[in-house]
């Protein structure tokens, strides 16, 4: 996406912020999805973003992940610039674990292969076993996505995102369309595993109850504009 721009060297971040957005805007055609959003998320913290459908929640996460290029503004990760108009740092260089609204599992890979996908190096085998145990997926390790139930697929997607121990976890309504019991179980799993890897969590939902379980700050997104609580 073009050459890396020369950065002005301005102090754009708050001290300790792992994710910083400054006046970020994104439009699709004539529709504004995210409008002048500024945000700091500190290391090891949790930020829940709530808002109705179409309020720009997913776009905001995609901008942080580097899956979208902002039309205006800047995204910073740690002390490093990550996105601005015309330049985006590749998503795999951002130390991000992303859980999509749909599990988005690869049909040709088993659960264990999904977990191993983001890992490299000699310790990957033991890390795979550890994550599979944490997410109670050990008995399903050799199954393909088509052989899993909806809840099992969500757990597999979570395990895949957690395995590389990312510093940032982005979750886009990961528990949509699950029954309350399964939702509660997976929420507990998210809280426990996030704490274990000490990741910064940005969690997007339209369910007002989920932030209560997750703790942390809550921000509201309406019409692409952010109101931090």
């Amino acid at each position: 996406m073009g050459l890396r721009p020369r950065w002005s060297g301005r102090r754009l971040r708050e001290a300790g912020a792992l994710i910083s957005l400054r006046c970020v805007s994104k439009r699709y055609g004539g529709v504004s999805a995210v409008e002048q959003v500024s945000l700091d998320v500190k290391a090891s913290s949790t930020l829940c973003i709530v808002g109705p459908s179409g309020s720009g929640k997913t776009t905001l996460l995609r901008l942080i992940a580097g899956l979208e290029e902002p039309d205006a503004g800047e995204v910073w990760l740690d002390d490093q610039p990550a996105s601005t108009e015309g330049w985006v740092l590749a998503p795999h260089k951002r130390s991000i674990g992303y859980v999509f609204q749909e599990p988005a599992l690869w049909p040709h890979l088993t659960v264990a292969e999904h977990v191993r996908f983001g890992l490299r190096g000699p310790g990957s085998g033991s890390r795979v076993r550890e994550v599979l145990r944490q997410t109670a997926l050990e008995p399903l390790a050799h199954r393909y996505p088509g052989q899993l139930s909806g809840g099992e697929q969500r757990r597999a997607a979570l395990a895949r995102a957690l395995a590389p121990k990312p510093r940032r976890l982005l979750m886009d309504e990961p528990l949509t369309n699950l029954d309350p019991a399964l939702k509660a179980e997976l929420l507990e799993l998210i809280v426990a595993t996030r704490a274990e890897i000490d990741a910064t969590l940005v969690y997007v939902t339209h369910d007002a109850l989920e932030p209560e379980t997750l703790g942390g700050r809550v921000a509201s997104l309406r019409g692409g504009r952010l109101e931090v609580g």
Partner: protein
């Protein structure tokens, strides 16, 4: 006719009526351009080919190019003579770009129509049945005539044995061209969709332009290439690759557009390197499209004559060249035997390509809950 499968059930619900309605069809079918786009390839290929027309003594522009070069050995004269055809084909390609883009938007496996069966009106069913009948006749009548002309399976066998060298040479050429086209198709599709994920019309146009070249012009151009790039017996694979790589690009592009984008994004975010995401996820999901592209190009190469005729090495002939020569000698029974063999080979490759493409739809969709 492709239907927008996601909106169709919604439209049906709106109608609140199980019977077909014209409003429903008009509101939910993809724009008719999708169907018109299917005409694009036959039109362009008809403009640029001359082999069939020559048997009926029809003097096409592509035939003129071939004749001019045969008489004068002048590349410049051939090029000038080819310019009108080149311009017309290029215009057809340019005009059809939007339509071709739409046609590559085929639905994925699993995006099937929900709800009950869709009730088509009688005239659509009759039309579809008639189209199917015509398609069957297009295959069955020539095959029946060929079988009758040959006489017996033993005669076919003896003809095939007599043409073993040509069959072997054609198979090797088709395999080489198929593989080369698939690789170029993959690169072309990647190039066309490099930035935003949706193909760029400008790039796609450039990638499709080789289709506009009249077959003899491709051969004439490659004679020059053959002088400094000695490919020997592999030379006939080169014009087929040049001519059919755009077909492979379209096939791979269609498969790429069928792949659930979230699967690719999940790979991009999760993979420790871009290469792993590409090799372990994208290439695998696009794989059936690559196979379909290779097989389709193999089938097309088997029948390619206009350019191959000019670049074939001395003493070597493809099946199409041998058939062409037999036809001029009036050896109809041998021609029929060879045509039958070629039709079976090309047909098998075509069916395999279709199978691979259908399978690609399944591979392109994300795993759905099993229970």
């Amino acid at each position: 006719m492709h239907l927008q499968t996601r909106i169709q059930p919604a439209a049906r619900d709106r109608e609140a009526c199980p019977r077909f309605s014209h409003t429903l069809l008009d509101g939910t079918r993809r724009p008719p351009e999708r169907s018109w786009s299917q005409l694009h390839s036959p039109v362009v290929l008809s403009l640029t080919e001359h082999s069939v027309a020559s048997f009926y003594s029809v003097n096409t522009s592509a035939m003129e190019v071939f004749a001019e070069y045969s008489a004068s050995s002048s590349e410049t004269a051939a090029l000038f003579l080819a310019l009108p055809t080149l311009a017309a084909s290029a215009l057809a390609i340019l005009a059809a770009q939007g339509l071709v883009l739409g046609a590559t938007e085929t639905p994925s496996h699993g995006e099937g129509i929900g709800g009950g069966p869709f009730a088509w009106p009688g005239w659509v069913s009759v039309g579809a049945s008639m189209a199917a009948a015509v398609a069957i006749m297009q295959v069955a009548v020539p095959l029946a005539v060929l079988c009758r002309t040959v006489g017996s399976p033993a005669a076919v066998w003896s003809t095939v044995i007599a043409a073993t060298a040509e069959i072997r040479f054609t198979t090797a050429t088709a395999l080489a061209a198929g593989v080369a086209c698939a690789v170029l198709g993959l690169l072309g599709a990647e190039c066309a969709t490099r930035r935003e994920g949706d193909p760029s019309r400008g790039r796609l146009c450039l990638l499709m332009l080789p289709l506009a070249l009249p077959a003899p012009l491709v051969g004439i151009g490659l004679i020059g290439v053959g002088r400094w790039l000695p490919l020997g017996d592999w030379m006939p694979a080169l014009p087929a690759t040049v001519r059919f790589a755009p077909v492979a690009t379209l096939t791979v592009l269609a498969q790429m557009r069928r792949v659930d984008r979230r699967l690719l994004e999940a790979a991009t975010v999760t993979a420790p390197s871009r290469l792993r995401a590409w090799v372990r996820v994208k290439l695998v999901l696009v794989g059936p499209g690559l196979l379909a592209a290779a097989l389709a190009c193999m089938a097309l190469t088997t029948a390619e004559l206009g350019a191959t005729l000019l670049v074939a090495p001395p003493g070597k002939a493809t099946l199409a060249m041998r058939t062409y020569n037999y036809l001029h000698y009036g050896a109809t029974d041998q021609v029929a035997g060879l045509c039958l063999a070629a039709a079976c080979a090309a047909g098998a490759a075509g069916v395999a390509a279709a199978w691979a493409f259908v399978r690609g739809g399944r591979a392109a969709a994300s795993g759905r809950p099993g229970h």
